[in-house]
């Protein structure tokens, strides 16, 4: 795997002795570093080649911010929104990190598009690079899947309804669409099972595939070698090569620096907002996907009923197959764009279509006064929610106690007696039980009110031994106490 066998004299001084020397002798770190940095680039370093490492940087940033966000996030319909609100409003630097993760997803899509465009326009998929291209396509799909699954997790109105539409679109696929939708949602409707599924996909499944494919993508890239400029032979590069280090590294780092500064400024000054919690009953809500899904969103509007098979299944399938098959179909060694009019035409057509569809969607939203009004209202609701301070979620235990009080005035009176007679001292608050006496929850199933009244007046020997005294109360109070004890669940 190493080009030139390195003699001892070749190793720079810092790797010969001390801790570095020891580490190097044990790990071969120097060779590893050289292999990474001494990659030859035919025709020399260029700014056109910076996007791949930019993607790697964002991916690593997404992994790190994602892991940190998981410190506070809970994937369940009950808690997801509260925990994201906690991250955004309460936790130090939480809003910044969440913004970094959310904007990072958008930045990933942008840089991915630039990387793909550069590869396509430069004809860098040619010359024994079929697998490199295929792994890249798979990574593109996985990144879009990450964006789709991650979008739902905050469980606010925007996330909920965008995903409802997204999963509905899947059901338009003839024959199997409905089953796929149910599988994605974990049921016919969106709910807590949907969050679990999306969370597992977003955090375990897709990242595992991405790690594996990024590794193979880089391996296949190094195996095939850098393609170089458009006038280079894709099979047997002839132009003088320059090593990746230092000039290309510096160029790559300039993109990284731009991303760091750009994302940092954006996240600091315009943090991503969290809207109000998802309300599935809101029939007014107008869902809109994230900007990079707008073209697909708009496209699907045109195909309904029997035409769906063409628009939802046939055309996208053909497009994806054509993209995947590209290096197999286009076998010429010609890489100069101006000599590849068909390829450039197809590229321009697809890009203009996507941009056109996205703009069309925006245009329609702005010019339909009903929709525009509703969207403005939704934004206002988001702003309003964003300004509110964080409100902790009431735990279910407290709710149960409150509900009993509300349900039945007799039982409510009984609760006062239960506490006034210090029944809760041994049987616990809300009859939950303590070390001194058993819980009274579900007592209704075992004893009728008359049996309970009898037990209260004449405790059994076992109860006596446990310290339960006979209860001597006026009949109405006894009735209230029994009503309360029977209400305990």
């Amino acid at each position: 795997m190493h080009s030139t066998p390195k003699s001892e004299g070749d190793i720079p001084a810092r790797f010969e002795s001390g801790v570095w020397g020891w580490l190097n002798r044990r790990t071969g770190l120097d060779n590893l570093l050289r292999t990474a940095l001494d990659e030859p680039i035919p025709g020399g370093a260029r700014f056109a080649y910076i996007f791949g490492s930019g993607l790697l940087f964002i991916f690593i940033s997404q992994v790190i911010t994602g892991i940190f966000l998981a410190l506070y996030y809970v994937p369940s319909a009950d808690h997801a929104h509260t925990t994201v609100a906690y991250i955004t409003k309460a936790v130090t630097a939480g809003s910044f990190l969440r913004s970094l993760h959310a904007y990072g997803a958008s930045a990933m899509v942008v840089v991915l598009f630039l990387h793909l465009s550069q590869t396509y326009v430069y004809g860098a998929y040619k010359g024994r690079r079929e697998l490199l291209w295929l792994s890249g396509c798979a990574l593109f799909g996985l990144v879009l899947a990450m964006a789709f699954t991650g979008y739902l997790l905050p469980w606010d109105q925007r996330a909920y309804f965008a995903t409802a539409v997204g999963t509905n679109a899947v059901s338009e696929i003839p024959w199997i669409g409905e089953s796929i939708k149910r599988l994605m949602r974990g049921g016919t409707e969106m709910g807590t099972l949907t969050i679990s599924r999306f969370f597992v996909a977003h955090v375990f499944l897709i990242p595992a595939f991405i790690f594996a494919l990024v590794a193979s993508h880089i391996f296949l890239f190094r195996k095939a070698g850098a393609a170089g400029p458009v006038n280079e032979d894709p099979y047997h590069p002839k132009q003088d090569a320059e090593l990746f280090y230092p000039r290309q590294v510096l160029m790559d780092l300039s993109l990284t620096a731009l991303l760091i500064v750009g994302l940092g400024v954006l996240c600091f000054f315009v943090p991503v907002q969290l809207g109000p919690s998802a309300n599935p009953a809101d029939a007014q809500y107008v869902p809109r996907p994230e900007w990079y899904y707008l073209p697909i969103f708009q496209w699907l509007k045109y195909w309904h009923g029997s035409a769906a098979i063409i628009g939802v299944l046939a055309i996208p399938t053909l497009l994806v197959l054509a993209i995947l098959a590209l290096p197999f179909l286009d076998r010429s060694v010609e890489r100069r764009p101006w000599k590849r009019p068909a390829a450039m035409g197809a590229y321009a057509f697809v890009v203009f279509s996507l941009v056109g569809l996205g703009l069309r969607s925006q245009y329609l939203d702005r010019h339909d006064s009903g929709v525009a009004q509703q969207l403005a209202k939704q934004r206002a609701e988001e702003d309003e929610y964003a300004r509110k301070p964080f409100e902790p979620e009431l735990s279910s235990a407290s709710l149960a106690a409150a509900n009993v009080t509300l349900a039945d005035p007799l039982a409510a009176n009984g609760k006062t007696i239960f506490e006034g007679q210090s029944c809760n001292a041994c049987h616990g608050d809300g009859g939950g039980g303590t070390a001194a006496a058993p819980a009274l929850l579900g007592v209704k199933a075992k004893f009728s009110p008359d049996q309970l009244a009898d037990l209260f007046k004449h405790p059994t020997a076992k109860m006596n031994a446990g310290g339960m005294p006979p209860i001597d109360l006026p009949p109405n109070d006894l009735k209230a106490l029994i009503a309360y004890v029977e209400s305990l669940k």
């Binding site: 030139t4 195996k223 230092p246 902790p392 407290s398 001194a436």
Partner: protein, 189 residues
Amino acid sequence: MFEGAEHSENTTHKSSPPGLSLESRRSFLGGLLGLGSFLVGALLSVPLIRFALFPLLRRTTDLKESSVGALTDFSSLTEPVMRTIQIEQVDGWRKAVSEKAVYVTRDNQGQLRALTSICPHLGCTIPWNKEKNQFACPCHGATFAADGTRVSGPSLRGMDTLETSVQDGQLRVRFQYFRQLVADKEIIG
């Protein structure tokens, strides 16, 4: 290095200035880049560290003070009176609201004092016995004076006092739990 191996030998480099080898120039740049990356990395870690250390920077669990009632309600207090307070326990992003019984009474200087109704012996709720003018625990017979001091029975200490404060004419109390079966009051939560 893979198929591109043969190229590394043809690699062109700009000629280095005399006296400064290519290797040392590259090492210097490498060092600079290493340092730069380290500094940028350190800068980027700041929000991550602040995010993870949030529980050290702020309270993530809290027991809020609860209102017991207006001070004027207790101005003519002659014997302990039981009040049910709502306590709010914050635990990260959730909170539990529960009700607890406390007594408002006077200490030997006549100052208002709040007592938890939980017996310091084994945790039963202690009722006030009007006839005997003392607190009498129904479980194991511990008794306490009106100000909460221990009188008799198995308890090793008097009833536990709770921190109080006055805000906007309201008596407020911070409810806490204390270790049972020990002579000295010890907060457990």
